[in-house]
């Protein structure tokens, strides 16, 4: 049956057919036809953010926990520019998003019309791909394509800019295109698999290095199997945390700038590095010429452009890491590798991770562990960016893929709260904890109201050091203790602010029993803010100074 529909109605129908059930965004003049069409949808629920960046990060939260592309909407001009940070963040962490923006009518493009901005041009470097729709008819092709591109290969954000007249243009539709789904993953070539297996079988001191790609491709189980079968000590990047339970005997935790000393020292001694879905980011490698100096490298990644980008691989395999690891398993000899595992154990004993004051919930590590003790592995852990983020990465017992949501590549303050809301929208039965700092929370504080409106089951844990802690730390260590523009001399009453936004709050500072206070807040359903003061002079240690080799860590 032929229907006559507008571009806006077509857009909404295509999103419904794509399986989208929750959309975040903020309306404005240039996207009102789509909002009007959305109001008639019984299948899609719109969540009104309070800032487009918040909408973008909420969509990221949904995508990060589900692995499926999520959708956010914004109007033209300032709506679109406000989205850009969330898109750039998704690009660097390879998160599948489809952002739809309104644009001024085609006839007004290029005239400096009200709220006209070159959204297409602005979004080129921060998206995987982008479109400027030129007709309602074209939407039938580009919207499914946007979803296909976002989810195929190395995932990423895709933007579709739709001029208002295209949204209003009515056309006859007799047939709908199939929803966009990810391209099939390439077949695994047997040659390199055999070479990689031979290297693993011949290695004396191999290390498995897991990145975010392992999470994206659902390869954590296979990676664990490989690690156990070949007795491979395993390190994870910030994005890879959760791929292997941190308390697994083969886990060496996170590598790089804030790794435990033993982790980086083991890497220094390895003779084979098996990099899986990881991209040799400088925060992971330190001075790259000194990274794993004795090691041959096997590099497995879905993105061929990552191979040999930073470090030349002896064997480079472009492919889906889950498939490649599965192909590798039967060729890898089971080995106890006793000598190397003993060596790693002795490094662990001599250069352990020191987590101080674990019994004091008003210290940074104590607070993190106390919260972990209130929760099980079903909880989702989000963070903002700063010292608190690194402390959580160091101390929280992450045990499953997609448990951990953090802004890795872009390191965007303001990520945490909206990403946590998005996670709670996508998986409402879970408890979502957002560890944040007093700097980061203020960057998207307005989304507390969204959390209240949505009754999102989030627990915002504010580690308040009255400073931009990570900046403070850098100034204290590397800028002659000249602390400048990193202390806050004024601050809101955060618990009062949360209450004003409709969120329950507990302040642990003066609480007679902080652990009990925490437990109550975590067990009560719905949004809570948990405030705790942290000493501004605490450092994230140990640390690789900027530009140094990973073995040259400072601090305990």
């Amino acid at each position: 049956m032929t229907e006559t529909l507008t571009g806006a109605q077509i857009t909404v129908r295509l999103l419904e057919r794509q399986g989208i059930r929750t959309i975040t965004g903020i309306p404005g003049g240039a996207i009102l036809p789509i909002y009007d069409a959305l109001s008639a949808s019984s299948r899609i629920r719109h969540v009104l953010a309070r800032h487009e960046q918040g909408a973008g990060f909420m969509a990221q939260g949904m995508a990060r926990v589900s692995g499926q592309p999520a959708v956010c909407l914004a109007s033209s001009g300032p709506g679109a520019t406000n989205l850009l940070t969330a898109l750039a963040d998704a690009k660097l962490d390879s998160i599948p998003l489809v952002a739809i923006t309104g644009q001024v009518p085609r006839a007004m493009i290029g005239t400096d019309a009200f709220q006209e901005v070159d959204t297409y041009g602005l979004s080129v470097p921060v998206t995987k791909h982008n479109f400027l729709a030129s007709s309602a008819d074209e939407l039938l092709e580009i919207i499914p394509r946007a979803f296909r591109i976002a989810a195929s290969g190395r995932p990423g954000p895709v933007l579709v800019d739709i001029p208002k007249d295209v949204q209003n243009q009515a056309i006859d539709i007799a047939e709908w295109p199939a929803p966009g789904c990810p391209d099939p993953v390439p077949a695994v070539a047997p040659g390199p698999i055999a070479e990689a297996a031979a290297l693993i079988n011949a290695a004396a001191r191999p290390i498995l290095y897991l990145g975010g790609g392992v999470i994206h491709s659902g390869a954590a189980g296979t990676a664990l199997q490989l690690a156990e079968q070949a007795s491979l000590p395993t390190v994870m990047t910030l994005m890879g945390l959760g791929a292997l339970p941190v308390d697994h005997p083969l886990s060496l935790g996170m590598l790089g700038m804030h790794a435990a000393r033993y982790t980086n020292l083991a890497l220094d001694e390895c003779d084979l590095l098996i990099a899986v879905g990881a991209r040799f980011d400088d925060r992971a490698t330190g001075k790259v010429t000194h990274f794993c100096p004795q090691a041959k490298v096997i590099h497995i990644d879905i993105d061929p452009a990552e191979l040999d980008k930073i470090k030349t691989a002896r064997v480079g395999i472009a492919g889906d890491v889950a498939k490649v690891l599965a192909a590798l398993l039967p060729a890898v000899r089971p080995t106890p590798r006793t000598a190397w595992l003993e060596r790693v154990e002795s490094l662990k004993a001599r250069f352990p991770r020191r987590l101080t004051h674990l019994d004091n919930p008003l210290s940074h590590f104590g607070l993190i562990r106390c919260i972990a003790a209130c929760l099980d592995d079903q909880a989702i852990i989000a963070t903002d960016v700063g010292q608190h983020q690194m402390w959580v990465a160091q101390a929280y017992p992450l045990r499953r893929p997609r448990q951990w949501l953090t802004s890795g590549g872009l390191g965007t303050m303001g990520f945490g709260l909206p990403a946590a809301i998005g996670a709670a929208l996508a998986e409402p039965e879970r408890t979502v904890v957002c560890f944040t700092g007093d700097g980061s929370i203020l960057m998207n504080i307005q989304e507390l109201i969204t959390a209240a409106e949505e009754k999102a089951n989030i627990k915002v844990v504010l580690m308040d050091n009255a400073s931009l802690g990570l900046v403070h730390q850098q100034q204290a260590l590397f800028y002659g203790k000249r602390i400048y523009a990193s202390r806050f001399h004024a601050a809101p009453d955060f618990a009062g602010l949360a209450r004003a936004c409709g969120i329950k709050a507990v302040d642990l500072d003066h609480h007679p029993n902080p652990c009990a206070g925490l437990l109550d807040a975590i067990n009560a359903r719905g949004p809570w803010l948990i405030h705790a003061s942290i000493d501004a002079n605490e450092m994230v240690y140990p640390m690789v100074p900027p530009g140094a080799a990973n073995r040259e860590m400072i601090g305990h």
Partner: protein, 103 residues
């Protein structure tokens, strides 16, 4: 330095890329953006539609440097790029154009 020598040096330092792309308004900015973002100078650009006009061919004259291999891989990832071929600097395409660029 004699002429042959100079040409040889040019040939060592330059490369020509032949890129087949979908023909639509955003393609050039996608392709050229990869270079400008890396502060990688593009010395020469040519672009014309091929076949029925749904495709175009872009020729780029670029400096050969260590980053070129990575750039080609990034080009190959672009949604609108079909193929990238790399030629030496003495490819005829830019030489024949020299007449149009006399000062």
């Amino acid at each position: 330095m004699n002429a042959t020598n100079r040409n040889e040096i040019l040939a060592l330092r330059r490369a020509i890329l032949e890129i087949d792309v979908n023909n639509h308004p955003g393609v050039m900015s996608h392709v050229v953006g990869l270079f400008s973002r890396r502060a990688f100078n593009v010395e020469g650009i040519l672009c014309m539609p091929v076949g029925g006009g749904s495709h175009s061919r872009i020729w780029l004259l670029v400096n050969e440097d260590g980053r070129l291999a990575q750039l080609i891989r990034q080009l190959e990832k672009l949604e609108d790029v079909q193929t990238v071929r790399r030629h030496g600097a003495n490819h005829a395409v830019f030489e024949r154009l020299e007449d149009f660029f006399k000062a």
